[in-house]
């Protein structure tokens, strides 16, 4: 059924060249029920107001660039269906991030944090290409597969009150990504990553609100990953201080 419905789309706007603070602007958008909120934004951009700025790319929940606060909840614009909402939808830039312009946020902080956990395979020992690939069993793959699904959409950072209060916090996705490589049987970089994640600004800043896992569109369960990192780091500590003769 392609029913059309008039939606009041209230968008938080901010123009750094002329505005001293953000303001709301409401557009009346004729929406088809199968649309997602991103379609409504595209309609505004194409038909009503070409100055509206927002990020998007894939329109299929893969690229992770269309995260907005939709009625106060961090959501992917391309996964938030119009039929799930009433006739008034409020769209704001992702919470906890500075606003660059309109719905576009400043994400350098997250990118730097993600890079700091070395989110790539660090082999245990170098081996020449002629020695062949690093092999893995299906069970070893299953161990970390869930964490590979992260699309870096930052919804978890927008949901995390701790990140809002303590901007130094490494945050859910970066630590989950570290956990993903630490759990990988081919990887030998755990000690290097622990120096970054098993710290006050790392996993110990997390107070397990659990909001990150509730909003994650890919069911990565970052909150689970962080608790696992806490458990493993605690075991490390006991081994190091009470049983120094045991090798980690």
């Amino acid at each position: 059924m392609s029913e059309e419905r008039q939606i009041q789309l209230e968008v938080l706007r901010y123009n750094p060249e002329t505005d001293s603070q953000p303001r709301y602007q409401t557009y009346t958008v004729p929406c088809v029920n199968e649309w997602v909120v991103l379609d409504a934004l595209n309609y505004v951009k194409e038909n009503l107001d070409p100055t509206l700025s927002y990020r998007w790319s894939c329109h299929m929940a893969v690229c992770g660039s269309c995260g907005y606060m939709i009625n106060g909840e961090p959501k992917l614009g391309c996964k938030a269906f119009i039929h799930e909402y009433g006739d008034h939808i409020r769209v704001e830039p992702l919470a906890n991030f500075p606003i660059e312009r309109d719905l576009v946020t400043v994400v350098e902080d997250f990118i730097a944090k993600l890079a700091s956990v070395k989110p790539y395979l660090i082999p245990k020992e170098d081996k020449p290409i002629s020695a062949g690939e690093f092999r893995q069993t299906p069970a070893e793959l299953k161990k970390y597969k869930q964490y590979t699904l992260c699309i870096n959409c930052m919804l978890c950072y927008a949901a995390c009150p701790q990140y809002g209060l303590v901007p130094e916090f490494l945050g859910p996705a970066a630590i989950s990504m570290a956990h993903r490589y630490n759990q990988d049987s081919r990887d030998g970089g755990r000690d290097q990553r622990q120096e970054v994640i098993a710290t006050d600004e790392g996993v110990w800043e997390c107070s397990f609100v659990g909001a990150c896992s509730e909003v994650c569109p890919k069911h990565v369960d970052p909150a689970g990953a962080l608790q696992q990192v806490k458990v493993a780091s605690t075991i490390d500590w006991y081994k190091e201080h009470l049983m120094p003769w045991v090798k980690k």
Binding site: P16, D19, P138, P161, S213
Partner: protein
């Protein structure tokens, strides 16, 4: 073009009022006040025990006052709520992989409730 990012301030004192899930989190955190009160009571009990049988008797008497009963009841409810909210998330925090598959969450949660019941039973029998 120069950049001028706008930063939305987060209230340090009332942030948790903005979302129901933050309020639920706060409710869980607040349980620690009652746990603290109960622990304090335990220390008082030890203290009065050290002072002799009379002091301990009067401490026990004070515990039977409405305030004492209320405090214990509140601590019990808080401890149960806190424990249950932890049991619910144990499959996330402590997943167990057997071969290729993960042990279903309800088995891990169930094991925790089972262990809780057993320990409670032992204490109950021992106490009577």
């Amino acid at each position: 073009m120069s950049r001028k990012p706008y930063i939305r301030e987060v209230s340090k004192t009332s942030w948790f009022l903005s979302q129901p899930r933050y309020k639920r989190y706060m409710a869980r955190e607040v349980t620690c006040i009652f746990i603290f009160a109960f622990t304090f009571l335990l220390i008082c009990a030890l203290g009065s025990l050290g002072k002799g049988p009379e002091a301990f008797q009067s401490f026990l008497h004070a515990l039977r006052s409405p305030l004492g009963v209320l405090l214990n009841l509140a601590a019990l409810v808080a401890a149960i709520y806190h424990s249950m909210s932890w049991f619910d998330v144990t499959p996330q925090a402590m997943p167990i992989q057997r071969g290729e598959e993960f042990v279903p969450g309800n088995v891990i949660v169930g094991a925790h409730y089972g262990a809780w019941a057993v320990v409670s039973l032992i204490i109950l029998i021992w106490g009577i």
